[in-house]
Subunit: 298 residues, 6 copies
């Protein structure tokens, strides 16, 4: 029997089964879906070109008039943001009466935060320049430092998280995670002049707080130690599970700090691969005891 | 001399050299090539929209008729799959007589497996929801959990691997690796309700087996300890090289388990950064002795 | 008040603030910008299809004439490269007189290096085949081994780095970093027959040197220990900060070697997770003392 | 004042005015809109590749299995058609109860007509080959004869028109009009073996009927002479306004035949630029009296 | 000799010749070029979606807030328009001092005209509905009447023409010409409620004026009779060369009216194929004497 | 029964019927197919940017080096042309032995003709400038005169026609026909300084010859009067069927000249709508006797 005939004969049963699975799936009406995910990615692009005109946009014909371009992109971003926020709120049933109205409030509040976010990003760029001898200039950092890309997206997503927008902030930071290997939960709180070098494998959990002028390398985890389960064995959501990092702390590659009660005091240095589940005082230098290496001749 | 003239003068020698290298390259007739790679990526997208209609597709106008969309996507996937399988089989000389016939059999067998794969993925989503206090709902997991994305692609690729399709399964899982940082070989065998959190740096080797309800974090490696060489110094292919993980095991961030004889018993917990090259009994809790940290004041 | 009216009322202040930030930004005239970044990515694609005709290109109608395609792609790559190099040089003020002339020289020098690069890549493919029992053939390696992709891009970027091109080499290797999780600085010097397996999290620093036939796994770091600051507290650029790896060295997953004075002697094997900040003699085998695992029953 | 500030100041009034015009526009909720128009164009492409597999599609790997591709494209076309028909019916309020149900019926009825349409198009191709000494072969006609393109689209659109689908048939023939300059209303009735040569400027009205084996050249109009107005001065819709053309008629370039009562008898030949508003018997040859040309020397 | 070698050998001479031709070409620095042409086409799309929100845009989630979308599209159009106008003015050396300033003035003046243009288009739609018994509704006219498309683009282009913008208005109307076969020069002056049916082949010249409520069919030409040459034999630019058409005039298919002194009085009807080079009084009905047809039997 | 089930039930019969029609279709193995058609369109674009660098391409960074861009585009065009010519020749069985060899010869011969074609196009632009008082400059003509676009494509296609390439030349001129409404057969022979104004509806037949400095308006037809049939009733291919137009002839809108023996002498002027089927001497002025218009009052 020809392949075409076999498809005619055998596929109907398969699609019927998948259709039944679809019907049984509780969450089957998506709030924004994969199409919305693509729109969120595009929104990140729009916001990026608002924040760094001339770099993330082809340069305008007359540099003196770059303000016109900023204003146009800003409005585009506002319109798209509000449409997405509305969809996300409605889908999560988070607004008893007027979702549109809440979407308006949130979108405007976010847009007004952009200059503040831009200022923070300026400090992050400076931190990268000071923190990496290989850095040649600001444009290089903006265009080719994964740490900066992840932090930029985080700072945007965090504002939306704070404003109570569901789903979208996570899609934003996961977009950065895909591109950079750096996974920062939008719920984390991160201070000024933050720099992540190389960055692949960095994980920063939802209830983490990080002070100013912190610097970290690839593979650093700021995670949970364990988490509570409720009577049904489901995890209790919303509890403080991740550590607090003070100001001016440095975390070397592969350092792991776990637990909601763990605090790293200001100006501390956490060595590579250190595994910390308790607090350390300010000005601490924490290293593994020199590893006893077994060196033999082949 | 102008640049154009110099190109005219100097490039011919360069292209002649590269052409000679091309001619000397033993594998120069590709089976599916980079163009086929792009088609494989698109196929993953088609299969995804078959498995999660309404989420990976723009929602149909009438939700009651979603079955029509499933059936159409399913058929498209079937046609494309078979064309790719045929190309891959023919290129590898794996079918003495009728490659087309084998491609038909494989494609149909795969399509019929889809409901079973969909059922497994439903359990994986549930495992993610239970395993991460930060998870807000199923759509969020489907759209923004890299662990779920990697497992979804793995489950599809694994079926093709089992059916003996060359090249394509590896391209599929490497596509997920690029997007998520999670590298699961399509040859691995993974049980139900599997969850990888964050996931960057996870490596699961070809001959690994993993039981049901296993959970792991970023940076976990299930790898080979060493491998045999044949008389010519080439690696012997197809030998069991990677560990077996029992049911209900948890592996924390950075845990490394190596070796084809290594078995982790059911319900064991392997702590962060633990390096294991031998088996442990069921219900074991394996931690590094508390690292002796040297803490000094700066 | 309607959302539209509120945008009209509130956005002007926001865009004015961002515009001021733009004006205060010292690096605001980009050399190649995000648009140039996209062109660099496309250039990598062109060069790839020059180096592996038939694989990275749809196969030509007559395989005997593949030379015509090579020559055409080579010229396209040359034209695009020179335009980008010119923009980068001009932007960095690196040519006192005739940037165009220097761009010509650099571009031609680079193009002439391509056969040599192709020859090196042939050895890298062979190294991957020999180094991974799971590898089925050369096409599979070219299409689905992240280690090979990262090394291919590195070898191209490194030539441009050596020729003194700013910004572009870093964009190239960061492109590979995004796709593979492997971060090789274009300034590093890497010998023949190099193989990185899995690769997520690998970091190879700017002033690193690596010998021939080296093999490494995911999560290996060849990094800096610390770096000097000048009188103003800025990092001193251009100092040797990363280690030297000899010939035939193997570095297992998670191994970390730090410091500009650190030398790993030929034929040494560095075990998984080893943390090395001093030199070891040739033929050394360096392992952590078997970790004392605490194994308890749950 | 800067341009940006002026936009901020002056645009709000403009958009408010346009918004008011939008609100006053009676037809402002579109049935399928410009987005639907693009989908209709894509549907024409799908149907074309169903009807001429191997030509309008990249050729399948194994010509014996072209049936699989036909079936897959056919199903895709069916799904898309039904979605569009549903939107069009609902928007026009043409189904008192169950629009979905009517969309199903119409779509299936249309799909079943495709073999008949294909057979008619085969005769049209033959007519073009016989009617133009410049024609070199069937593929050339399918790919580069505007007359064939217009007739193909007409034959598809006409079936939908007959099935009572609003808006979509007109969008289909207007698509052909844009590409070919040939304007055939989907309501016209056209017999077998129809050929239009060159075709630019041809107009065939809604209530026209055309027999078998008719051939016409560019600029032929089969139009209305005048039309009735109702008491309000609006045109009365649905009245027979265009001529009937018999079998085997030839109409040369620029011929104009007008009026709902006008009948051109079988086998008649209508000369170039003839203007006819009354019927002619079968076997008539209608030419303008040889134009009295005034020929002077310059 | 292989093809590649022959290209290497023979192409340099060809490109050198073409390069010389390029250097000798007086107009070789384009004002906006083919890239600008594409941007002009996109601008037409933007303006269209401003004027007909909900039809030329995918419909917004909340119809009450369509004003937000109008305002965003309007601003985008403004920014893009001004950038193009600036390029066009600068290229033509039409602004002695401050091109940017003139571009600002022109762009704002144009944007403020949009509500008036929208109002005119509303009347044109109504004229189409009344003028064609086949018209089913307003959406159908907007989406599938070439006459409406050509008039819409003309009305936009005409405003720019009046404001003194070079090149762009012609590119806009030629875009419509390509899509519809209707060639209206942007310099023509056209009154209210204008309708062109079918339209292929219509030509309306630069210095034409057309009154209110005029209706015309395909193939109508309002052209020049001849034109003056200056002492060098070049055409004298800017002289009135095309006719004036009064109010309520109807021109049937193929009617040709030529000459700058020719005036068609109000309410006149010009029959099909009539060739007029002199004025006619108001209320005239102009037909060719009934053509003497020679009708013979075959 | 649901729609999905009905498709499953009823579509197989439909696709089987269409598949049978496909099998019975004599020309079913296309030479270049619709995919090749798209490549031909792209080739026209490449050739255009070779001929008019700086206009049809985004302008190069350094205008002095435009030669590099010309050479690169030229080579790309050459490679693509040869691949298409090869496919077309092979499909038509026009080369008994070595199609590749003939494709090489033809492609090189064509490329070497490009400077000559460019020179002719320069004269055509000048003719347009002199022939239309509304023309503002050369760029405007290149970008927005349909007559120029059609002639440019014709001049390229004609060379390929002369070199014996099947199918491709017709696809090229039909591409221009679609865009401009001007249908010039690639077999026609056209002299220098040719200008078509407006152009919609112009038809120039395969065996036509046109002298130098000819100018024509929209709707001009240079066609066949009738054509010979062979014993089987098929048209005899390759006979001279279209007129010869001398130097310096002007043909006004709608003029029709028919027949292979018809010659229009040098410097003649053919008036609007004139219908000519016999030759006229040089310096003739041919007008219709002033049409007797019936002018009545309404």
């Amino acid at each position: 029997m020809r392949f075409g005939e076999r498809l005619d004969q055998e596929l109907p049963e398969v699609s019927t089964q998948i259709y039944r699975q679809y019907r049984d799936f509780t969450d089957r009406e998506p709030t924004i879906g994969a199409a919305g995910k693509i729109r969120v990615h595009a929104l990140v692009g729009l916001l990026r070109s608002v924040l760094f005109p001339g770099i993330y946009e082809s340069f305008p014909d007359d540099a003196d008039n770059v303000d016109v371009f900023i204003a146009a992109r800003l409005r585009d971003a506002g319109v798209e943001l509000r449409s997405l926020v509305y969809a996300a709120l409605r889908g999560h049933g988070q607004c008893s009466e007027d979702c549109q109205c809440r979407a308006d409030e949130i979108s405007l509040a976010f847009l007004k935060k952009l200059p503040e976010i831009r200022a923070l990003l300026g400090l992050d760029i400076q931190a990268a320049y000071n923190g990496d001898p290989a850095a040649r200039g600001q444009e290089e950092i903006i265009l080719s430092y994964p740490g900066f890309e992840a932090v930029m997206v985080y700072r945007l997503a965090h504002e939306l998280y704070v404003l109570g927008v569901p789903t979208i902030p996570r899609i934003m930071t996961e977009y950065a995670h895909t591109n950079t290997g750096i996974d920062i939960h939008p719920g984390a709180t991160i201070g000024k002049s933050f720099f992540i070098d190389h960055g692949t494998g960095v994980v920063i959990g939802e209830t983490c707080t990080i002070g100013d002028r912190v610097k970290m390398y690839q593979g650093v985890t700021l995670g949970a130690r364990s988490f509570a389960l409720d009577a049904d064995g489901n995890p209790v959501k919303g509890i403080k599970r991740h550590p607090d990092i003070g100001d001016d702390v440095v975390l070397y590659a592969g350092a792991t700090v776990l637990g909601g009660d763990t605090k790293i005091g200001d100006r501390s240095v956490i060595g590579g691969n250190v595994w910390l589940t308790r607090s350390v005082a300010p000005d601490s230098k924490v290293y593994n005891t020199p590893p006893v290496l077994k060196i033999t001749r082949l």
